[in-house]
Subunit: 398 residues, 2 copies
């Protein structure tokens, strides 16, 4: 009886998590070393309940659809596991002759991955466990960036570029676009790439790395509104004040249950009530991690490669590593594929470095744009515009 391989997804999906699955499955097939390639249905929950799909039996044409399918085709979970559950997992792996395990996910899933590796060793098995990085937030430490981020960045830049055209057309209000990324501003920051084809929007970028100063924010909005009529603000979903408290009051709070408030909506209300200027908010929300239309081809290719790299590692008997990429050069864009010891990335979090944030804290730097640009994988579209420089003089707009 041959050796089997199991792949599980953890955490929220991305636009390319299925592409990593594809990369891993193809590598396992090619190796000839694996009898069954199992997918755990709904992540670690699927391992514990022995709920597997045999991906080695899926026709190639159906597998290829993984490259352009948002969400997770095998499901995912966010389960926090306790020690007895890791021990049970090892028993399940042994029962199903699973010698190789791959976990695709972010910081939390790499933690699971590292603990499962330890549990396998403790039980005296030679099961190999490796991780495939995945996060739209780009907050995994050590590596240059994770698969999932490039597509989320493209989505964000595209969204802002298109909304900016709308605001330029009818410059009567302040539009707040809420971006994903609770503690790390990488996605919010990518909005700056919209500028290259759309004049000067976004006008203000509010990152979670910078304490929100209401007075300074309102002064900036007022100044830009007087000059341009329409103002485009991009704000990260969870901004905090200097004292660490949330800017937007919670949507719901009772006991330990707490749901973040809608930051964009809160800022729109702030602008209306304090400045008397029309304002509204937009929140594409989880669509930003689930859009194939905005999938970055660079991101997709890298996701496939990371899946294949982690698969190759376990098949070579390596355990306790996460596949990753280090930036070798930005122009031309070049990365080096590496294996990172899993201990270095378990539950750590990487936020935007100071040199990527502008001095006044309401923008990003050219260094960030240079770093981010190649990850989008495609140019933003060019638009026609015959309005010339905006001039409110004598024009009454409603």
């Amino acid at each position: 009886m041959g050796k089997n391989l199991l792949i599980a997804h953890g955490g929220a999906p991305t636009a390319v998590i299925n592409a990593s699955l594809y990369g891993a499955v193809e590598e396992a097939k090619k190796s000839g070393k694996v009898e069954h390639i199992y997918g755990a249905i709904f992540g670690s929950a699927g391992i514990l309940t022995e709920n597997f799909v045999d991906l080695s039996a899926v026709p190639e044409a159906e597998l290829a659809k993984l490259l352009v399918t948002p969400g997770s085709a095998i499901g995912t979970s966010r389960t926090q596991l306790e020690k007895p559950e890791y021990e049970k997992m090892v028993q399940v792996l042994l029962k199903h002759d699973i010698h190789y395990v791959l976990f695709t996910g972010g910081n939390g899933s790499m933690d699971t991955c590292g603990k499962l590796k330890a549990a396998c060793a403790e039980a005296g098995t030679d099961i190999c466990v490796c991780g495939i990085p995945k996060t739209i937030d780009n907050d995994i430490s050590v590596i240059d960036h994770a698969p999932g981020y490039g597509s989320a960045a493209y989505f964000q830049a595209q969204c802002v570029a298109e909304i900016a055209q709308d605001v330029r057309s009818l410059p009567i209000h302040v539009v707040i676009i809420e971006a994903m990324g609770r503690n790390a501003g990488w996605i919010t920051a990518a909005s700056a790439l919209a500028r290259e084809k759309c004049g000067d929007a976004p006008d203000i970028i509010c990152l979670p790395e910078v304490a929100f100063d209401e007075e300074k924010f309102l002064a900036k909005v007022k100044e830009i509104h007087e000059k341009k009529g329409g103002v485009v603000v991009v704000a990260s979903e969870y901004l905090h004040k200097a004292d660490g408290s949330a800017v937007a009051p919670p949507l719901y709070q009772e006991g330990r249950a707490r749901y973040d408030g809608d930051l964009g909506s809160f800022l729109a209300k702030l602008v209306i009530s304090k400045l008397g200027i029309k304002a509204r908010s937009e929140k594409p929300g989880i669509w930003g991690r689930a859009s194939i239309q905005s999938q970055s081809p660079v991101d997709r290719d890298e996701a496939v490669r990371m899946g294949a790299l982690a698969c190759k590692a376990v098949l070579e008997g390596k355990s306790g590593y996460m596949a990753g990429m280090m930036r070798k050069s930005t122009a031309p864009y070049e990365v080096e594929d590496v294996l990172v010891p899993i201990e270095e990335v378990m539950l750590t979090e990487r936020t935007m470095p100071r040199e990527f944030i502008s001095e006044d804290g309401f923008d990003v730097t050219e260094a960030f744009c240079d770093w981010c640009r190649p990850l989008l994988g495609a140019d933003l579209p060019q638009f026609a515009d015959f309005k010339g420089e905006f001039n409110l003089e004598g024009v009454k707009l409603h």
Copy 2:
């Protein structure tokens, strides 16, 4: 000295308002009857301030970009005009030898269009004024549908289809997607087209044509959540109760200034607090009228044609009409291009007919889907899915 033509945009932009501009400009050029083709910068405000761009001088390659540019490349406005302003407009038209005027817009702009036509006649001029329909809301009377709607419908269906994949992957919460369309549910309804490739999402559709019943809504959410874990609700941005009051409290209200509250956010809070189920909301908002990625090719072609048709009408000396389309057949899709007397569409509003709404009011009918499908202009993508029927038994998801 030759005769000139003027085009002005009114109301909010769509993904194809620039395509109508392109169609009108090309028709005017082809006719050989027009010396200058002017675009009014920022709509009727641009007419009153004599702020024009000469589109006849723009290179063809630049004009062609109009087909794939969101927003309005000549700007737009929402100005409500008084009688003296119409009289002033006529003087501006005479001063610039403008014999032909085209207004692109919705109900409000068709009202402007009709009043300008009357003012031109009253002043004893032979200036011809016609309208080009444009609205994402699809609420213009008489005609089958207006350019702008097909792209907004595709955007909506695409958004719901992709988010549905995310929710199926990690079915732990209720996701409320807020759709545009204040009084008419045409855009919200288009979400149903997402179903054809994505299982059964959206699970609930809340239209503004149906009075919102909180108890029935919560009961339905609870029932679906027990069965599927994840629930996808699409709700129109402005739902009302049986007594006509808004479901969501206003974002801001003081004196006559009133800003609608975030309906999606309100419903998410309702689900959390009344049912104790995780919930969140998404609101792509004005992106839904500004996305070229989701532009329907059928919509774009029709927008070009409507621009050309209205242009042809004024050049033939017709005045006081709006270009429009009547449905001749749905399978195969066929429309007849017509000219509608402008009086029939001024300031009227068309909502969803009863036969397009399901009996329980939380869905649309197959008749609506059949009517809407050809307007999307493209099939929704097919996704891979290996999860099988969702079964919560024994699976603890977080």
